[in-house]
Amino acid sequence: MATSGSTRPVLAVENLSTHFFTRDGVVKAVDGISFEVMPGEVLGLVGESGSGKSITGFSIMGLIDPPGRIVSGSIRLNGEELVGLDDRAMRRFRGRSLAMVFQDPMMTLNPVLRIDTQMMEAVQAHEAVSDKAARARSAEVLAMVGIPSPEERLSAYPHQFSGGMRQRVAIAIALIHRPALIIADEPTTALDVTIQSQILAEMQRLCAESGTALVWITHDLAVVAGLADRVAVMYAGRIAEQGKVDDVLDRPIHPYTHGLIGSVPGARMHGARLAQIPGSTPSLGRLPPGCAFAPRCPRADAACAEHAPSIAAAPDGRAYRCHRPMLIEEVAR
């Protein structure tokens, strides 16, 4: 568990907005979000599809392509500003101090290139080392992520690996340069449940050993509960609520967080009707003028529909955006 205050954050995102300028108008995929990640800390970035959590990840990596663009805000990695860097300057960070693991391991490895090609090029992209040294480093990280006989497996093609093994290879590639931060974009969603827990445990262990901070993007609250130190809940491009994982999951402030937790089937509710949030996620191109969640919110009033809530701080250190927060009285006590 990271401690706040004394140490400097690995990643500081401030008021970040990433918009997509499409023919049908501006889509505000990410709209003014701020968060920090401390060294060795695991931040869970939770939200439904289209909430902007993946776009947040790609924005940090500098991998937003037209028609998308980071329109404002700042992303600082160990104090260095990343927003506004050109591709060449950004490449020094990508894969070295800043790595990413993608959702679908079947798609992230190039099908026509051998594993060694894909790993060695990652080593040599940032270090002028011999092929031999690059290969040795590749085998080393493969062993770290639990791939048996890594030397032989290096000569294999991606299709000769199972989905779980491919994700391990992708994680190994992310770990090659011992990055300060790894962004994991739902890396276990496409895997079997048994493999999921293995990969989760593996990543948790590797990050703890190397002091790598982790931004874990997911829609799965159970994963967040078991893995993350802190959690940020995203809705329609904004962070609805963020704080320590126990605080947020046990005593949600934002009605959306509450609804999200209620939607998870629990063991005790067998046979009972599953709670759900009415309606569906709004189109990011046509957001209501007020709080984006207001049309679906059971607690919404006239103020919610009129103007969007700004960021407020709860006494326990949480940040939230809500006119009608839940449990705030209790938290204050």
Binding site: R96, D104, T108, V112, E121, A170
Partner: protein, 325 residues
Amino acid sequence: MLAFIIRRLAQALVVIVAMVVLVFFGTHVIGDPVWMMVPGDATQEQIEQVRREFGFDQPAYIQFFRFLGDVMQGEFGRSYVHGESAITLILERMPATMELAFAALVLAVVIGIPLGLFAGLKPDHPLSRGIMAASILGFSLPTFWVGLMLIMLFSVMLGWLPATGQGTTVEIFGIRTSLFTLDGWKHLFLPAVNLALLKVSLVIRLTRSGAREASLQDYVKFARAKGLSPARIVGVHILKNILIPIVTVLGLEFGSLVAFSVVTETIFAWPGMGKLLLEAIQRLDRPLIVAYVMVVVLLFVTINLIVDILYSALDPRVRLTGSQA
């Protein structure tokens, strides 16, 4: 692998036999070659004599079995017009055609792939739009017209390049080629460009759509996330993926370059087998037509086999096995 090749060759044999049957009876229906062989004032008796000499008085199926019997003994028939072995005639002309087709193929790849990559990776760039517009022209303009225009511009008006013939040739391993003399290159250039035009457009379109598709794939984004340079991503990650369809199509297109260079060869008086075929059809020279078809079918089958083998080299997911047809 070996089983795969044997299977392929057996299939080729079936195709060749089927083609020979079709072409043999096809040319039989078209007309009577005797009229092409006797002088205009020949008497009925002379005509009958020529007919008997060549066996044309027999029913078609008997003629066919005779022909088949000859083929079994390695005798592919003599050209009615030239009086020489039809196969020899074709094989003599083949190097010139292959040379032309090969030059056109190289042009198609060397011009088509870079332009296609550019258009695919920067689809909104004005130059990309220009490339795509030009490729539509390449597709739509008739070959013969472009050939004539090329001659008009470069030979007649500018006088830079010769319009006809193969130029100075050298014999290399018993094959006459114009690839080793400057004069030969000059003669080769215009017909090769003419023949390549359609294929350049094809390669541009294939490369462009492949590059557009590949550049959206996760593996490209992942490669970028590794911090690779754009040159490495395009040159290795994207290119190796789009080479698969390009190699397949170009392989097939090479066959058609060889088989259908008839128009270009005729316009530029290129001494290849396309020109020979055109004459053979005009004179109902059946053995020559049949032999030509056999050669072309064999060529197609061989190219397909090479493409399949290349394919497995490019795409590790493809493994050639006996069961794969």
